[in-house]
Amino acid sequence: MNIPVREVRATQKLSFVDGDIHPAFRQISDLYPFLPARWREHMQTYGEHWRQGLSGQLSYPRMMASGMRADAFPEDGPPGSDLKLMQTQHLDANDVEIGNLVALSRGGMEERNLDFAAALSKAVNDWQIETWVKPEPRLRAGIVVPQEDAAFAAAEIERRASDPRFVQVIFAPRTSDPLGHRRYWPIYEAAERHNLPIGLHSGAFSGGYASTSSGWPTYYMQEHYGFFTTMQTVMTSLIFEGVFDRFPKLKIVLIEGGFTWAPALGWRMDKHWERMRSEIPLKRKPSEYMRDNFWYTTQPIEEPFKPEHLGEVIGWLGWDRLIFSSDYPHWDFDHPRYIFKFHVTPEQRAMVLRENAKAVYGYK
């Protein structure tokens, strides 16, 4: 039995925090007002040199309408480029209280020319404020930084940290070295000092690597699943390189990388570390860092054959670890009303839909 859409909207509004909304440029020239003339000319003359090659595109096509929700195309420009449509279709229709912007492209994360990357990072951060957060205060920006230039990245964090409209630091999880490496530590030092979580969004760009750990896949479905395994290597690198012994208050939010894999990885890391701790003298068990320093956004949430199995996994992980995310306007969008297809308590629902995000991000 279907329920009429209107009645649901009228009676069951679910105010929630959305941990993953993607803003897009209508066209690349949207960035020009935020770039100094020197770099605007560079972009027009030489273009971008992404780490993966194939500048300006994904390494493989994606399903549906280029990975987009097919009903999210505005009249002009790609999905996510029109604030009005985002408001009517998502922020207003679904009653979003606060939404975190995750600006995936052209923030310098993938740019090989590090001076250009720095200019792109500043431009994308200004663009988020001017184009999105000023006209729509429910949205919050992320400080997008080019992680391969950690000194600049730390300076950019420093420059933006006092502005409460920025709620986290964003960079690509597929870094040139696994991201626990000490070359990235200045970023962690700055983020921890300002109590800014680091949001790592899977997918988007390959960083020059094959999209699965055993090579280039034949099908999009394999690539999509690769988001999970990327996040596992992100977590093990950060933990075993000792990042959290050095920066114990550092908060990592894994965005769109799943979470059901995490409890099993924790068990496995603990078992092996007990036997091999002489190689890596961490102060605590690996799973304890996982429990204290990592959060996970929910989308795309698993929909197991027996829905209650998902509740068991969340119990192992901790209900305080999950942050609802829609991934608007991408095709595998999750709706806050449907993520739990099993019984949850009002407290558990409130934690995932609002409270956990507020605790991690400390919105002002």
Binding site: N2, I3, R6, M64, R69, A70, D71, W331, D334
Partner: protein
């Protein structure tokens, strides 16, 4: 339950569809090869606007490397997650055992029958000389 006049029969050509509203519900009305079908516009998976999705066939395979598309124009693919539904029955192709979008029977009635009532015409008056599409809800 009441019977509703939702469109003129000549309004939809084979291959065309439109969304109509009946008692506050959005319903997708389809003409497939001269037959009329109606399904709810609300995807039973997560509530997406189902009938604004792509109208397509179904890809079937007898084994690796062997594909064929059958029943072109008889499936709708939800614009959110790509779940495919059989427009004729409302049956989900992803999860046929437990998911189905509500389907409504569409009848074609001549205007001269309709004017006798009792019918609810949603948006237009009924003329005796034309045929109309009717659903019961």
């Amino acid at each position: 339950m009441s019977r509703h006049v939702i469109a003129k029969a000549g309004e939809l050509q084979p291959g065309e569809h439109k969304v109509v509203e009946v008692k506050g519900r959005e319903i997708g009305l389809f003409n497939i090869g001269g037959e009329y079908f109606a399904i709810s516009n609300r995807c039973p998976h997560e509530g997406g606007p189902l009938c604004s999705g792509m109208i397509t066939g179904i890809v079937l395979s007898d084994g690796p490397g062997k594909y064929r598309i059958e029943r072109k124009g008889e499936f709708v693919r939800c614009p959110w997650h790509g779940w495919e539904f059989d427009i004729r029955t409302g049956q989900s192709w992803c999860d046929p055992k437990s998911t189905k979008v509500r389907a409504f029977q569409v009848k074609v009635e001549p205007g001269e029958e309709l004017v006798k009532g009792p019918y609810v015409a949603e948006t237009f008056s009924v003329a005796v000389e034309e045929d109309y599409l009717i659903i019961e809800l």
